[in-house]
Amino acid sequence: RGGWGGMAGQAQAVSTGTTIVAVAFDGGVVLGADSRVSTGTYVSNRASDKITPLGGQAFLCRSGSAADTEAISDYVRHFVRQHEGELQEDPDVATVARMAMSINYQNKDRLMGAMIVAGWDAHEGGQVWSLPIGGTLVRTPWAIDGSGSTYIWGFLDSEYREGMTEAETVEFVKTAVALAMARDGSSGGVIRTVTVTAEGSKRGLFTGKSIPQFQDELPEPAWVR
């Protein structure tokens, strides 16, 4: 029997086999992700949205098991909402990240979610928090995760600079995701971004031609208009 993932009779869990990126700049953060969701070699969703609002001005980038990360994000949104009720104001990004981390940590034997929480608050400005599998929580200037991230560590290590503008950071994130999508079979589709600043959040969508291409890509055939 041919089939899914080439493993006869064995179903693969739906995985986000992903590339997720978040980079902070002075005044905010830019989050970016690809849009491919795969079950083995079958792409079950080629335009998914892997960036989820959690409450306040905090957003979550999801990678790993799609089911696990969706469930985690639902729980975090629930608890953030409760917390907002008591606080009577938006919670800090650090608080939201910690709540997501504690779910990862307390259920580490059952969950497989590698996530990034990023956003803006008045207390600390733009922030990126890494939440790898197992329940670690660490704040970093930039973070990447997912299967595609393995191909772009060198790119970010060498090209990241402090003091980028918002526009430069969006380009930087777009390029990083595009590079990963070019090499990782489990990443692809469109590039989605979210930019978060004091003014709020903006979504970006980059498809087809607006995705950066690199020197080894085939040029567009002449007959394409």
Binding site: H83, E86, L87, P91, D92, A94, T95, R98, M99, S102, H123
Partner: protein, 278 residues
């Protein structure tokens, strides 16, 4: 019509309230449990709990420009008791302190609850509990004890004072056995609260620094202390100030000593004036 709870004395008839000689009013029949309203809409057990606080020694809290000060008039009932014992002002968390008046045993439970709430908040959310959140949680907790006949309300009020971690905003909240909490610039509970409030209103709290406020608070407590009815007292002072790096600490001994000296001198001047009048 039933005569239950009705009493005529000197032409004054109030349902549910009896005046017995010079004693304070007693709610006949409607005051036996916290689960009973009186016909005029009171729950007498709560009123009696407030009385317990009113008859106890005074605590005061001030919210000033750069922090908060907590002070208590700790009456010395015996020279055999260690002066360090029977604390009235406690630390709840890094930037929050609480002062108590009323039944000390009840108040200790409230302090323990404050500390549990602060700890659990830090455990879940990773930061210091905002003072207003702690105050509301304590108010909700105390309110529960006004609902049932098998418990009684707490016989204590507390003053929660602190500086919020995020915005360095000083906050003072008073929480009562009724289950109400109110945010204050200056708060006083206990027998000397009325005089204390009169003194506080004379101050420009918004422009006082913590160091100045320590002296003012010492003066207030020395002023309201009743030399005749009560014996000696110890002044307990705590603060959250720039000098303490916005952590709750007992006010340093030298400062307390200076403040008390200044307070006694100020009061000494007043009593000198009174003698001249005679």
């Amino acid at each position: 019509e039933s005569n239950l709870g009705r009493r005529k004395e000197g032409g004054k008839e109030e349902k549910g309230v009896a005046r017995v000689g010079n004693m304070s009013s007693v709610g006949t029949g409607y005051d036996l449990s916290a689960s009973t309203f009186s016909p005029d809409g009171r729950v007498f057990q709560i009123n009696y709990a407030l009385k317990a606080v009113e008859n106890s020694s005074t605590s005061v809290a001030l919210r000033v420009k750069d922090g908060v000060i907590l002070g208590a008039e700790k009456l010395v009932i015996s020279k055999m008791i260690s002066p360090e014992s029977g604390r009235r002002v406690h630390m709840v968390d890094h930037g929050i302190g609480v002062a108590i008046s009323g039944f000390v045993a009840d108040a200790r439970q409230l302090v323990a609850r404050c500390q549990e709430e602060a700890f659990s908040y830090r455990d879940i959310f990773g930061s210091t509990i905002p003072v207003r959140v702690l105050a509301q949680r304590m108010a909700n907790y105390m309110q529960v004890y006004t609902l049932y006949s098998y418990v009684r309300p707490f016989g204590a009020s507390i003053l929660i004072a602190g500086v919020d971690e995020e915005n360095h905003q000083p906050q003072v909240f008073q929480v009562e056995p009724t289950g109400i909490t109110v945010g204050c610039f200056g708060a006083a509970i206990g027998k000397g609260r009325q005089s204390a409030k009169t003194e506080m209103e004379k101050l420009d709290l918004a422009n006082l620094t913590c160091e100045e406020a320590v002296k003012e608070l010492a003066k207030i407590i020395h002023t309201i202390h009743d030399d005749i009815k009560d014996k000696n007292f110890i002044l307990e002072l705590g603060w959250v100030s720039p000098q303490s790096n916005y952590k709750y600490e007992r006010v340093p001994r030298e400062l307390v000593a200076q403040a008390e000296k200044a307070a006694k001198e100020a009061l000494g001047d007043l009593s000198d004036m009174e003698e001249e009048d005679i």
